[in-house]
Amino acid sequence: MLKIDNLHASVEDKSILKGINLEVKPGEVHAIMGPNGSGKSTLASVIAGKEDYEVTEGNIEFDGEDIEELAAEERAHKGVFLSFQYPVEIPGVSVTNFMKTAINESRKAKGLEDMPAKDMLKLIREKSELLEIDRKFLSRSLNEGFSGGEKKRNEIFQMAMLEPKLAILDETDSGLDIDALRIVANGVNKLRSEDNAVVVITHYQRLLDYIVPDFVHVLYNGKIVKSGTKELAHELEEKGYDWIKEEVNA
């Protein structure tokens, strides 16, 4: 589904990703871990299509098609979703109107009519229940004045609404208490299927107890320096990242 080959990317001439190789197949869950500043969030943003980053080498293939030249919205229409580490506040646009616009724009791109209002309401009700989101919350301005946990829950709600093929969760666990973490993880797990895939970017093992990865990769200094199974995550939790850095620098 996602095939990243020798990906180099830079921002303002500063090289951040220095040759990433990663393949994600349908049904899989990959975790990307690594110390601060290793390039995890950059990788997520580059896959989602943030314009500030320039791909200088290599390519990103999604469902057999090179996507690195596509605009962020076109990637979204193909089924790429990024749950933001820091969701942006958008005053004046309610959660509901935002989702209506997003869904109908995706449908428009696929040549479909707008979703009938009745279906939209049903979908919103269903997915908000899944994430245990209060209905009142949906008429509030998007992310404005939301707590950290509410923002993250709202990200997964959007994911549930948009039903992406590939969901990249960038530090979705940060700022969540244990109950919110459980709700969010439960939401993600319920959305998993044979046809979609999840890339979890995290510092900690904690979230991976709930969203169990098939593969764990360690990103360090712009490269994936180690890959393994979920046991690797446990090892990192116990020993930290210093041994990885030593291995790489040796």
Partner: protein, 437 residues
């Protein structure tokens, strides 16, 4: 002959036609002297620092546009808020159009300034109110000197005008360039309520300069809602002078939607002459090309326990320029005043510019006054966030701009106006937005 000389010499001919013994004659004669002495304002004056009239004054304006062109309602329907029932006072090239208008004298007076100025039964009102709120600056004086036609609205005590009143000025280009000077008088007596919608619309490419003056008197507990829709062509310029005198416990609001025109200058002045008054000034400005809009506001807090709320938002594209100059005066007696002012702007183009200047003169010591202005670009991180959800950049930008102006629209009380403004905004931004914010 420059425009000033032309106006001064035209005045003599004009004034010969009216009753020389009247109060109005004295006011006009005094006013032309003021204009003659001061002339048109220049950028040397502090209040005109960022707006130059030079270019628009170069046209050879016809001061009294001659014949009346008839217009068919179906051709100009789109300039009306046509999906509501309303009174209409319509002018074509400065002349009253009876067949497009719907006036009344049934309980309330919704009619013509010319009638009020000339008929004896209105003499007392004219003597009590005419030119009693307007300032003596040069442009107001110019309007006063030539005041002869416009809207006259009188709502007696304890009356609610049963429907909004639309005042629309059309220009048909029957002169190669026209100067229009409508003069409106609106008196809303105790406990009464009126809603007014004003629009100026040029129908051709021939230049039009409108120097309009409106005096509003909101008596005790009166409520006045005024909507100004400024969405004219690039050949039309507007100087809109509005003076609102409020008595105690009255509420007056003016929404100014400035979406188009070559040059627009809004001189909007509120005078609070009683306690527990609320004055509301809201504005949305969305400009492109070389358009220029200057909002020059004054709220004069004279008595204690009053409030004022100013909220102006501007979005400037291409080479457009904006000015916001908001002055608040709180007199020594005006304790417990709450005065708020905010002016937020987005520059969509590198070549667009905004000059924003709050001016607070506070002489009382127990007041709450706040002002804030921001100038920024569209938030790139918000755009990426929306794009990542599948909303194309153009729509995302529009949605952000829409949301930006949204809280100004939230205080619009007539839903049809809100819808119309939403449509104009969507149109200006070049998108179709499928819902009302």
């Amino acid at each position: 002959m420059d425009l000033k000389e032309k106006l001064v010499s035209s005045f003599l001919a004009f004034e010969n036609k009216v009753d020389l013994d009247s109060y109005v004659h004295d006011v006009r004669s005094e006013a032309i002297k003021v204009f003659e002495e001061k002339g048109f304002p220049s950028k040397k004056e502090e209040a005109w620092k960022y707006t130059s009239l030079n270019k628009i004054l170069k046209e050879d304006y016809s001061v009294f546009p001659k014949q009346e062109n008839a217009l068919d309602y179906k051709d100009v329907k789109k300039y009306f808020i046509h999906d509501i029932d309303s009174y209409k006072i319509i002018f074509i090239d400065g002349k009253y159009s009876s067949h497009l208008s719907e006036t009344t004298h049934d309980g309330i007076d919704v009619c013509l300034m010319s009638a009020a100025l000339n008929k004896p039964k209105y003499r007392l009102i004219i003597e009590n109110y005419f030119n009693k709120a307007a300032s003596k600056d040069s442009l107001s004086s110019l309007n006063t000197a030539f005041s002869s036609e416009g809207a006259y609205i009188h709502i007696p005590k304890n009356k609610i005008a049963d429907k909004p009143i639309q005042v629309i000025h059309f220009s048909t280009g029957n002169e190669s360039a026209s100067l229009l000077q409508p003069r409106n008088l609106i008196v809303v007596e105790e406990n009464s309520h009126v809603q007014i919608i004003e629009r100026h619309q040029n129908l051709t490419d021939n230049p039009v300069l409108t120097n309009s003056l409106t005096e509003v008197f909101a008596k005790k507990r009166a409520i006045v809602d005024y909507y100004k829709i400024q969405n004219d062509t690039s050949s039309a310029s507007l100087i809109d002078n509005t003076f609102i005198k409020q008595q105690r416990e009255s509420i007056a609001s003016v929404h100014t939607f400035a979406f188009g025109g070559k040059l627009i200058r809004n001189n909007l002045n509120f005078y609070q002459e009683g306690e527990r008054i609320d004055s509301i000034l809201k504005g949305v400005t969305i400009l492109s090309d070389k358009e220029h809009v200057d909002h020059n506001t004054l709220v004069h807090h004279i008595e204690p326990n009053c409030e004022s709320h100013q909220d102006y938002k501007g979005i400037f594209g291409d080479n457009s320029t904006g000015v916001f100059n908001g002055k608040i005066i709180v007199e020594k007696e005006a304790q417990k005043t709450n005065a708020f002012q905010s002016n937020n702007n987005i520059l969509v183009s590198d070549k667009a510019a905004i000059n924003t200047k709050p001016q607070l003169e506070i002489f009382a010591d127990d007041v709450k006054c706040s002002h804030g202005c921001t100038i920024g670009q569209l938030d790139e991180s918000a755009l990426f966030y929306m794009q990542s959800r599948g909303i194309p950049k153009k729509e995302a930008k529009a949605l952000l701009m829409y949301a930006f102006s949204n809280n100004v629209l939230s205080s619009v009380k007539i839903p049809e106006i809100k819808q119309r403004i939403n449509k104009i905004i969507a149109n200006k931004l070049g998108v179709d937005i499928g819902f009302d914010l």
